[in-house]
């Protein structure tokens, strides 16, 4: 049932303040591909390899139980991407702070690798990212880590508020870990820029997905884009819905599993970051994030589709 069965601690299970049976089935699906891997100690120059017998391969989304086990085993780095003030008020045990704004202030690959090293993250180390913004900020950070080559990155299945509301343990000390070294292996296959997006226009096997809300999409969007608003992707308990639901949404839109998808949103790739992982969870293998998104597209003066024949904004009750 759960990939971490060999690590389960009955005692701590009992302490859980919520009913594990009540979790939706997707939680189990998500954790089922958590694999134990023997760390290959080929590169002995890395300080991290000493005494780290077991490395866990994380799934796309990390469920609460898996994370708690990893924390107990000190076998993962937990990254809190909320504002530093929020982090100081309380966070998930052992979490380090990396506010999204800090990461975006200089997102050159070299700088990102430097950040990983500062946070004490070594190449294969399992990393679990969380936020309090329905997963969108966490997704953007996770994608960035994977882009510079840190594949073993996962999103916590819920937000910090959900975690806290479940009565799970929190702490407010500021965590620091010894600096590591981390290699830089850019994963070009998950990255897209404006030139790439332009090149896929009229290619039926490549689908451009706009993850902004419906009214923003109707107002203006990149030609040929399909709208999968981020609001569809999660529910009030989980940053992403069950695999079954996400698969159905994709299938309803006639998007096949072997399509290539490029996601984008308004400006920095947070909402589309979440869509990136939602589609990954839905089984799409080939997904890219146009991280600079529509803001970049417009700044470059590229063409866009506008729909001005209806006053849909006047339906808003705000």
């Amino acid at each position: 049932m759960c990939g971490l069965i060999n690590l389960k601690n009955k005692k701590s299970q009992a302490k859980l303040k919520y009913d594990i049976q009540s979790k939706p089935k997707n939680v189990n699906v998500k954790s089922s591909n958590l694999k134990q891997q023997n760390q290959k100690q080929t590169n002995n120059t890395k300080t991290h390899s000493k005494g780290k017998g077991t490395i866990y391969k994380l799934p796309i989304v990390c469920d609460v139980e898996t994370l708690r086990t990893l924390i107990r085993k000190k076998a993962a780095r937990v990254v809190d991407v909320r504002r530093i003030e929020d982090y100081k008020k309380g966070h998930i045990p052992t979490a380090v702070s990396l506010p999204l704004a800090n990461l975006l202030s200089n997102d050159s690959p070299e700088h990102i690798v430097k950040l990983l090293e500062t946070l004490g993250i070594y190449d294969e180390m399992p990393v679990v990212v969380y936020d309090d913004t329905f997963g969108a900020l966490a997704a953007r950070v996770a994608w960035t880590f994977q882009y510079v080559g840190h594949e073993n990155t996962s999103l916590l299945e819920m937000t910090y508020t959900n975690w806290k509301n479940l009565g799970l343990e929190i702490e407010n000390r500021i965590n620091k870990f010894p600096e590591t070294t981390h290699s830089l292996k850019l994963n070009h296959s998950i990255y897209a820029d404006a030139t790439y997006v332009e090149s896929i226009q009229n290619n039926p096997d490549k689908v451009l997905v706009d993850s902004r809300e419906r009214l923003n999409f109707l107002s203006e969007h990149i030609p040929s884009a399909k709208n999968i608003p981020y609001t569809m992707l999660g529910n009030d308990r989980h940053i992403l819905r069950s695999v079954d639901e996400l698969k159905r949404f994709v299938e309803n839109r006639g998007i096949t599993q072997d399509s290539e998808i490029i996601t984008y949103c308004g400006s920095v790739g947070t909402l589309s970051g979440l869509a990136f992982y939602a589609l990954k969870l839905a089984g799409i293998k080939n997904i890219k994030l146009y991280s600079k998104s529509f803001k970049d597209w417009k700044a470059l003066g590229k063409p866009k589709i506008e729909f001005k024949d209806a006053n849909y904004w006047d339906l808003s009750a705000e």
């Binding site: 809300e213 419906r214 009214l215 109707l218 709208n227 608003p229 609001t231 569809m232 529910n235 009030d236 159905r248 949404f249 309803n252 839109r253 006639g254 729909f307 001005k308 024949d309 209806a310 006053n311 849909y312 904004w313 006047d314 339906l315 808003s316 009750a317 705000e318």
Partner: protein, 612 residues
Amino acid sequence: MKKNEELTKINHEQGSFVKPKENWGLEKETNNFANKVKLYRQGKLADDDFRRFRLQHGAYGSRLRPDYSMIRIKVPSGEITPEQLEKIATLSEAFSIGSAHVSTRQNIQLHWVQLEDVSEVMRGLVEVGLTTREACGNTVRNVMCSHFAGVCPNEVFDATPYSTAIAKFLLRNPMSQNLPRKFKINFGCCNKHGLVRIADIGLVPDLRDGKKGFRIYLGGGLGAASFIGHLLEDFTSEEQLLSTCMATIRLFDRLGNRDNMARNRMRYLVNEIGWEKFQKMVLKERAIVEMTVSEFTKNLYQVNFDDSYVPLKKSTKYNSLPIVETNISTTSNGYDRWLHTNVVPQKQENYFTIFITLGAGDITSSQLRSLALLIRKFSSESIARNTPQQNFAIRYIYNNDLPAVYKKLMAIGLANPGALTITSAVGCSGTTSCNLAITNSHRLAKEVQRTLLELGFDVDNDLRNSTIKISGCPNSCGQHEIATIGFFGGAARIENSMAPVYTMLFGGNGYEDEGKLGKAVMRVPAKRVIDVIKKIVELYKNEKSSSETLDMWIDRIINNNGNGNIKNMDDIKTLLTPVTQLPPFEEDQELYQDYGNDIKFVAKTARGECAA
């Protein structure tokens, strides 16, 4: 008093008495819809066939974008539970635009849903017992029931169980699947509420010698050509309710015009055949129905009375609220103003119905959730009713709870006053989502409401009984023909430029007695509508006789009975004309644009889908 307090306490502690819920949904329809969308996208289903199917399942094409749908959620009898409101909130956030819209026929509509997601919305609705089935198309649409039914001081009995039973009998019934055109049934409570004269079948509860029954009106309806319904017979006993409805639908199905889409509502048939002949035909058909319909079929119609309901002592002093006697003005505190314009006493002593003032029926998802909590906590029946004025009515609020309810509503931005006054303007969706719309009636209704509240029209008892209703085209979704001052949208050339204009109508009402349609007065540019309303009120104030309300005065003008300076329609037209004038286009282009637009006005429409 003490007994009621006790009861309220019990209700609140138990989460209140919950009425037996009807389950209108059917899960297999959601999968079926998803599959049909796929087939349609693959080109395996013809446009017309798919459109018919889509409408039958409550998904209406959006303005100039058939790839998006307006989903019409049926709310039979207008009764909606907190759980249903919460689900609608969640579905709107996920698949629509984060808000929901109360229609003039007690439906709730979600706009701009991608066609591919419609089945997902349906799936969610089924989970809470709701359906979109037969909400559009050539079917029996949502069966309405007065939001006062059960609490109205002037009703003889509660029509709700009958309304719900008829809705249940006709939903998915083969006899209502392929009618010549849509078919509407409205139940009233008394002779003032329920819009019984503008439906294909309108029914008002009545008692004869202690026996329950109805006054039934046939062949009414609003549209490009509107008619007021005719009384079938003095009294129709409750035993004949089903057979009368079946007979009427069968006649319409058999004789209705299936060729001319513009003239195929039953009201045209009645008009062509002539009422007296049609009346005889219905009575004959009813006799046939009664002789031939099987017991099995008859048993599909079950009127379920709510036995869990604890009858409350009937009030003897229901006609006034303590606050109504005092003078309310714009300087009164907010609570008093709200009490005066949004709260009415029920026939049940110490219980009140409160109204939630929405802007043209719009409510956000987060407001829906807060409202659901409020209903659970404060309404002893724990449901809300949608109103044809595009508001919510929340009933069985105990008098001691009113201040707390107001406070909660304040906190969620839903404590606007004026729900029961002229300020609560009705507006159909207009160019915000409808293919047929020429003007942005939706926004205009909200602008009218905002302005009139600012002017304090809600606290003016002279204006209280008057209504303003606005449609974005001559079809009457905004029910402009039963408004004291009604408007329907169009386009006109003014000073060599096209501009959005409204035709203004005077003196309509939807009452059972003396129900009548408004009379066209003149055309008013969209950006002058508010000025014209203000001017009408100003003229009325100068002209009125002592206790005459605005609607009474307007009636007098229509009938050429005015005294003073304004004697008839021509007089008022002359006085209003200067207000409707626009300066040349070059001087103020904005006046030639519609609300919500900063571009030149162009009348754009596409095929409507009112008929399948």
